[in-house]
């Protein structure tokens, strides 16, 4: 019937043309439409420019079938691409659209794996090409995103192998729980995976976790990384960042901080069997090291002589470099030869040993090899990849290995039913990770801060003291009952922190086309890992003189079962409608099993049964479930106006029964104004306006609604109990974030400029906070819903192509993010006007504006020198500091962050440079304070006399006499008093970093054809090449411990500069 009609139409058409030409034969043409990369484009509308004919569109595979005759001109139209005209000749054409234009039609994966045209989305998303991530050759996936996405702040904890990175989108919305609670949700191929940051040593004492076993009460020591770090960049096709809660209402509470959607490579579109091989090597060295002084050696007030490192000599047991000037005078020293007769050290020239740290560090090495097989036909697509990562840290004997297998496959069982499987297995581990911490005697940076400047690193390489049977380390300062300095080689080879982690994540998805426009997806996914960690300290370790052994077993499992029913219908030419409804069952289980032998019976045998004191052991089991139902609907008008509505209801097991069901909605609107109002011109190619609103509620960690006792092995090994210091709350309500955003996306001047702007504002209320109580309340914290906080800011993404020719292309891509936070209220009625978040010397607190500070999250408080009308106050000749009522030191959050990338391409060469910029924010440096106090940094040189002693009178006023200070004190004592406060070591953290510089060469296709290679390229990549910053001694980007204490530097290993090469071949 249809054919008859078309024939009739054709007949009339021909008649109307007056039979001008000889009757051309109408034939059925089939063809394919792709973009410039060869990716098939579905939904391209095809019509006849000349002559009659029935228009059509390409199907999901980019294929089309149309009736036309030779010589007729067909128009291929697709939004964002240049309209393409093709004169019919032959058959099976492959039409390439808009080779130089921006991909406006790009399909964006949004919540629940629903793919949508970018233009129809009413909220801010940003895409990062997987290729960029791969070429960065960063072992932590998060670091590759640094500087690439507007409004996303990524902080790498340190230059240690396997170090954590912290990611935050649009500032801090929440203040409670684990550190990763401000992490966005990570979703791989539609299924959430963990980005937990579970450590085995307690990071610091400032924060309490309800369920964290906190097996050690000491300082955090080892960074075992964040869970999302180990996703293999080689398997990633693209990353889409959905910023803000608007984008993510459908993923549930956990997406309130945004979502990082990772789409893995699938093998789709590969004809036959494809093989790709990728090899990378890079070499790392510290980007910035402290500026040590090498003028004065160990000792105090210019006095030093070594006898036993225990105080037997003169100042030979003190961790200070306030000793004599190193002028080559003869002094018995630690590495002086021993007189066989007396056993005493023979005096040797007292000279500086510069480059101690540089001599200690080695060049880090990272090697990655990846091979992938992929293929597809009309029924099956698959990709199998294997990656091997091998890394050696800058500290010798530290390493990391990672083997990852990934299988991604889809199969069309029949015309209606399709199955997709994504499976990943990652085994990662380390024989030894270096440890961190400004109170950790194993931290390399701390050791070198206190290292006597006159000791040659080479004299430490034999790290056991001879004759002790490997029981006492060989180190300049070692008093069993007093000060001890660890030998860095001893630490690197004996105090090992290893782990082995198995992880499996993936999902199985069935898609069933019930009707043409009704589709059902059922999916089951899981993320599982088991991490076995061992931490050992050999006999005579500074912190554990009698040795130490700890095992920690970390188990995590998350399962998600979900279904989604999708329906779409074109009601008329103007109105389209689609809707989905679904549900999700989420279960999270985690287990910890840990034990510590805090003293060893037999030296250097690391077994929990070799315990000299009772073992501390414990286990934790946690389970949480969230059941959800949700729905979404989209109405489109003229393919230019799109209205989206979503709603979700969660039932969380972690909330008390009366509050455990909560609903949250969102709405968004996208208007392609350029098309709707016919504004398109050469100057204005595209303009989309968008706005959205959402309200998201969020639950909490499990087991925080019922009071409990903590049972432990206490007195004499008996079981004892105390009421949990952190009091839960049986009335707790879910937190709530209400946010809105609006913005536009525009392409200008023949697509040479594209600009994307978003303004957002979010308001969090009912914040769940473990409120710190006063000691007289008996409890450290009580969980409460308190306070109100807002975040607002804007994000700009700008792309400019100043030069665009056939052979030469220059493109500038920039992004800019600015966030402002305000703590509007706490719970002043209840007397809560400040909440301490974290404390390690300086204290990160939440306060409202009417108290000291700027009233926003990230305010840092600490002690400071007291000035009176501009004059520094003194008492007994020493500067006075205020340490009772702490002062405001600044805010650790930056004023803004920026990333600028320049991409230059000339024929087969391309060069790109990425600059990361942070303006504002403060960083507090413990290296600065301890380094000056120890007399080890250049700042401590002022006023020391030729012998390294000397007195001085500080400028200022004596507060007891109310007259100018005239009391003379030693230089050492003066500077130690002057620099021993938090304010003086808090600096403006602004920096500019050349994050990445990359030169690539791709072999020309003409060349490749001859050697049966599809693509081949080589790249040279440099990361973190240059740093411009006013902060002394450290990279301001480093954050303390495992990355959670932003704005504080606590002697982690320095960030690394890396130089690498990468080879890519596909067959």
């Amino acid at each position: 019937m249809r054919r008859i009609i078309s024939l009739i139409a054709l007949f009339f058409a021909m008649c109307s043309l007056g039979m001008q030409t000889a009757l051309a034969q109408v034939k059925v043409i089939t063809g394919t439409v792709t973009d410039q990369h060869g990716e098939k484009i579905p939904g391209v509308s095809i019509s006849h420019k000349t002559g009659p004919g029935k228009p059509t569109t390409t199907n999901g595979e980019g294929k089309f079938t149309i009736e036309a005759s030779d010589g007729q001109v067909l128009l291929f139209r697709y939004i964002g691409y240049k309209t393409f005209e093709w004169t019919v000749t032959g058959n099976n054409p492959v039409i390439k659209l808009g080779s130089s234009e921006k991909e406006l039609n790009e399909v964006v994966v949004t919540a629940l794996g629903i793919t949508r045209e970018a233009k129809s989305i009413g909220f801010s998303v940003q895409k990062v090409d997987g290729k960029l991530l791969q070429e960065s050759h960063e072992t932590n996936l998060l670091n590759t995103l640094n500087g690439r996405v507007a409004g996303v702040q990524i902080t790498s904890a340190s230059g240690n192998i396997g170090a954590s990175s912290n990611i935050q989108i649009r500032g801090q919305n929440f203040v409670s729980g684990y550190n990763y609670n401000n992490s966005p949700l990570f979703v791989v191929d539609g299924v959430p995976i963990s980005n937990n940051n579970e450590q085995s040593t307690r990071a610091f004492t400032g924060r309490q976790d309800f369920n964290n076993p906190n097996f050690t009460a000491n300082e955090g020591e080892v960074d075992y990384g964040n869970a999302a770090a180990e996703i293999n960049p080689n398997d990633i096709d693209k990353i889409t960042v959905l910023k803000g809660p608007n984008a993510a209402a459908l993923y549930g509470s956990r997406a309130a901080n945004g979502v990082v959607l990772i789409t893995t490579k699938s093998g789709k579109g590969t004809k036959g069997l494809g093989v790709s091989i990728n090899s990378q090597a890079s070499f790392e060295s510290p980007l910035k090291l402290p500026d040590y002084q090498y003028v004065y050696g160990q000792g105090r007030d210019g006095q030093y002589s070594y006898r036993d490192g225990m105080g037997g000599g003169v100042n030979d047991n003190i961790l200070e470099n306030w000793g004599p000037a190193m002028n080559g005078q003869l002094i018995p020293q630690f590495d002086s030869p021993i007189d066989p007769g007396t056993g005493a050290r023979i005096a040797t020239p007292f000279v500086a040993q510069p480059n101690q740290l540089k001599d200690f560090f080695q060049t880090g090495q990272t090697y990655t090899n990846n091979v992938a097989l992929q293929g597809s036909n009309d029924k099956l697509n698959f990709r199998f990849s294997y990656s091997n990562l091998n890394q050696k840290g800058i500290v010798e004997n530290t390493d990391m290995k990672r083997n990852a297998i990934s299988l991604n496959s889809g199969y069309a069982i029949d015309k209606k039913l399709r199955v997709d499987v994504n499976f990943n297995y990652v085994n990662s581990g380390s024989d030894n990770r270096a440890s961190y911490g400004a109170k950790n005697d194993d931290a390399i940076m701390r050791i070198f801060l206190f290292m006597p400047r006159n000791v040659s690193v080479n004299s430490l390489r034999d790290y056991w003291k001879s004759g002790t049977g490997n029981q006492v380390q060989n180190t300049p300062i070692y008093n069993p009952n007093g000060a001890r300095l660890n030998n860095p080689f001893f630490v690197a080879h004996e105090n090992l922190n290893g782990n082995n982690r198995d992880r499996v994540y993936g999902n199985v998805k069935f898609t069933y086309d019930i009707l043409d426009n009704l589709k059902l997806t059922v999916r089951s996914g899981r993320d599982f890992y088991n991490d076995k960690r061992t931490m050992r300290h050999a006999m005579s370790s500074a912190q554990y003189v009698n040795g130490y052994y700890q095992e920690d077993d970390v188990y995590f499992l998350e399962t998600n079962h979900d279904f989604l029913l999708s329906y779409d219908k074109q009601f008329s030419n103007d109105i389209s409608f689609s809707a989905s409804a679904g549900g999700n069952l989420l279960t999270q289980k985690s287990k910890r099993l840990g034990a510590i032998a805090s003293q060893l019976a037999i030296p250097n045998v690391y077994n929990l049964t070799n315990n000299a004191v009772p073992i501390m052991a414990g286990n934790i089991y946690q389970e949480k479930r969230i059941n959800s139902l949700y729905g979404t609907a989209q109405i489109g008008y003229k393919n230019t106006v799109f209205l989206d509505l979503t709603g979700r209801n969660d039932w969380s097991s972690a909330l008390p029964k009366k509050n455990n069901s909560y609903f949250y909605p969102s709405a968004s609107l996208s208007v392609v104004a350029s098309e709707l109002f016919k504004l398109e011109s050469d100057a204005l190619n595209f303009l989309k306006l968008r706005t959205s609103f959402s309200s998201v509620r969020r639950d909490l960690e499990p087991y925080q609604t019922m009071a409990n006792f903590q049972v432990s092995q206490g007195w004499g090994g008996n079981t004892v109990a105390v009421h949990n210091n952190n009091y839960p709350n049986s009335d707790i309500r879910p937190e709530k974030v209400v946010s809105y955003e609006f913005g536009f996306d525009t392409r200008l001047l023949d697509n040479r400029i594209n600009l994307d702007f978003t303004y957002y504002k979010s308001t969090t209320t009912d914040l769940i906070i473990p409120v710190t109580l006063n000691p007289s309340a008996g409890y450290d914290t009580k969980l409460m819903n308190v306070g109100k906080m807002t975040n607002h800011g804007f994000e700009v993404m700008l792309g400019v192509t100043p030069i665009r020719t056939k052979h030469f292309n220059w493109e500038v891509v920039g992004n800019f993010g600015l966030n402002r936070n305000k703590v509007l209220s706490m719970s002043e009625d209840n007397g809560i006007s400040r909440i301490r978040q974290l404390e390690r010397w300086a204290s990160l607190e939440m306060r409202t504006e009417n108290t000291k500070g700027d009233g926003s999250f990230g305010s840092l408080y600490g002690d400071y020198l007291i000035y009176r009308s501009g004059a520094l106050t003194h008492r007994n000749g020493l500067p006075q500091e205020e340490n009772g009522d702490w002062g405001y030191l600044g805010n650790v959050r930056p004023d803004y962050t920026m990333g600028i990338t320049n991409n230059l391409r000339y024929k087969q060469f391309s060069l790109s440079a990425l600059l990361s910029i942070q303006k504002g924010g403060v960083v507090h440096s413990r290296t600065y304070i301890d380094g000056i106090n120890a007399g080890s940094l250049k700042e401590s040189l002022v006023n020391r006399d030729a012998n390294g002693a000397g007195n001085m009178i500080g400028e200022g006023v004596d507060i007891d006499r109310n007259a100018p200070n005239n009391t003379e004190v030693t230089v050492r004592n003066y500077w130690r008093a002057f620099y021993n406060n938090d304010a003086i070591a808090t600096f403006d953290a602004s920096y500019v970093k050349l994050r990445e510089l990359k030169l690539s060469y791709a072999l020309a296709p003409s060349l490749l054809e001859k050697i049966a290679v599809k693509t081949a390229s080589v790249s040279f990549v440099g990361r973190n090449l240059f740093l411009w910053s006013d902060v002394p001694n450290i990279d301001p980007e480093v954050s303390a411990y495992d990355g959670q204490f932003q704005g504080v530097e606590a002697m982690s290993l320095p960030s690394l500069r890396s130089l690498g090469v990468s080879l890519n071949v596909t067959f």
Partner: protein, 509 residues
């Protein structure tokens, strides 16, 4: 379509079948309640820990101990703020939550013996707090778990003392009426002996009554206790006193006993805490054999003695409150060095006892009450000497010889009491009693300091470089100073001025 229904039905049934959904959130790791007895060891050992810990702060104030000049200079010179007193306030205060739980569990399970212990422990802990800090929250302490009590209200020391006496009386009556079958388990203080807990309660009453005796007439109450042992049993011998023996490796005194040097001295000569010159000189002046218990010989004399046993062991106290420069000058003028001052004696280290309240203290208070004609029967001079004997009795002969485990021998005691100066004279009774209280309370800084503040003896002189007179008060921890109810209390009762370490507490005359 059928599939959809199945899936929808399945998922719905999964949700509804979770009738035990709420039970997922029951913490499997930690119990919601525990037997009362399990709370005792941490409570008692932590409370005792605050006594042991007071040696270093109050004990420095009252010059039991002194740091070598220059070491922890700011502390020794009384450059103190709220931050200096965190440990002293925060730790003990937080114990009260467990006291409250103990009482609650005991009441629910009708175990009055634990309820009584709860009362006694609350009084014991908070009496130390009030002695040191003055006004404290008593009724609302440790109740942050209860809605509306997150920020405890303060009460005056006078009121607190009355409340404590009432609680001790409750404990006395509960223990008096205790069913014979009632047992006290995990009792690390009195090994399950309920009568000793009762004696402790009544002895504590004496301490609290005498503490306020300069401000309130307590004669009748004191006499009522001492003169009626049936109703108010108190300690009757040194072995009954409240002394906790640390017997494990992870508690407070752990730092103190570990890593002993190989030189056989049994002490850590490197420790910064030295015995004060006031203590050493006073013990020497009275030929008090406690000297050899309290102080270790100086390191130099110990080493010399080891080489040549004829060299006498020397005991020398450290002057309190010296700056580095003053210490250097003193050493230069005397020809001494840091190894010429005595550290805490080996028996303290070896035995790890914390004396919460001694029999000697009770007897000294009794002697004072008799001397002050409070209606207590007995002879003050006799009781005074009994008290000193009770203090000696803390150090009986044990295993080992006098060098490895010094003790006070019968001969030493006889010689001591043969001195006329050990007889209580009415004209100097208060000073004599106060000095003995001070000596007996060695390393219990709280007690020594409170006695000195109340009675004014021994005569102490602040060090030459101090920034203030000897402190008479602990300063509220900076963690507490933002308690809105404390701020209000200070506004109401102290003109809004947070008390400093120079502000007297109420009991002090």
């Amino acid at each position: 379509m059928k599939k959809i229904l199945i899936i929808a039905g399945l998922s719905f049934s999964m949700m509804t079948s979770c009738s035990k959904f709420e039970e997922i959130n029951v913490n499997p790791n930690n119990p919601a309640t525990v037997p009362a007895e399990m709370l005792l060891p941490p409570l008692i050992s932590s409370a005792a820990g605050s006594v042991s810990g007071s040696g270093n702060r109050a004990g420095q104030f009252v010059q039991h101990l002194a740091w070598l000049g220059g070491t922890s200079e700011e502390d020794g010179r009384y450059n103190l703020t709220g931050a200096s007193f965190r440990e002293e306030w925060n730790g003990p205060m937080r114990l009260i939550k467990d006291v409250n739980q103990l009482k609650q569990i005991a009441q629910q399970s009708s175990q009055t013996q634990y309820e009584a212990i709860g009362h006694i422990m609350k009084v014991y802990i908070l009496s130390l707090m009030s002695d040191a800090f003055g006004d404290i929250p008593y009724n609302e302490a440790g109740m942050g778990n209860v809605q509306g009590y997150e920020f405890a209200h303060y009460q005056s020391q006078q009121e607190v003392y009355q409340l404590m006496l009432a609680d001790l009386e409750t404990a006395n009556q509960l223990l008096k009426a205790l069913p014979p079958a009632a047992t006290i388990n995990r009792d690390i203080l009195f090994n399950g002996d309920a009568t000793l807990w009762r004696k402790f309660a009544n002895s504590l009453k004496i301490r609290i009554l005498m503490r306020q005796s300069a401000k309130v007439n307590v004669a009748e109450q004191v006499a009522a206790i001492f003169n009626n042992p049936a109703e108010y049993p108190v300690f009757t011998k040194a072995s009954e006193q409240a002394a906790l023996v640390y017997n494990n490796s992870i508690d407070f005194y752990y730092w103190f006993i570990r890593n002993l040097p190989a030189d056989g001295s049994g002490v850590d000569f490197g420790a910064n805490s030295r015995v004060s010159d006031v203590m050493v000189d006073m013990l020497k002046a009275k030929n008090d054999p406690r000297l050899y218990i309290y102080a270790a010989p100086t390191r130099n004399s110990f080493l010399a003695n080891r080489v040549n046993p004829a060299t006498p062991l020397e005991y020398r106290g450290q002057r309190a409150g010296l700056s580095t420069a003053e210490q250097v000058a003193q050493d230069a003028s005397t020809g001494l060095n840091k190894d010429d001052y005595s550290v805490i004696g080996r028996r303290f280290r070896a035995e790890n006892r914390a004396f919460l309240m001694t029999y000697a203290e009770l007897l000294l208070l009794k002697a004072e009450a008799i001397h002050r004609n409070m209606g207590v029967s007995g002879d003050a001079a006799t009781v005074f000497q009994e008290a000193i004997r009770a203090s000696f009795d803390k150090w009986p002969a044990g295993a080992g010889n006098i060098a490895s485990a010094p003790f006070i021998s019968a001969e030493q005691q006889t010689a001591y009491f043969n001195q006329p100066s050990t007889i209580l004279h009415p004209s100097t009774a208060i000073q004599q009693i106060a000095e003995q209280l001070w000596i007996d309370s060695y390393l219990n800084g709280f007690e020594g300091w409170a006695g000195w503040r109340r009675l004014g003896y021994p005569v102490l002189k602040a060090g030459p470089s101090v920034l203030a007179p000897i402190p008479v008060r602990y300063v509220y921890s900076d963690n507490e100073q933002n308690n809105p109810n404390l701020v209000e209390w200070i506004n109401q009762t102290m003109d809004g001025k947070m008390p400093t370490h120079d502000t007297k507490v109420w009991f002090q005359p």
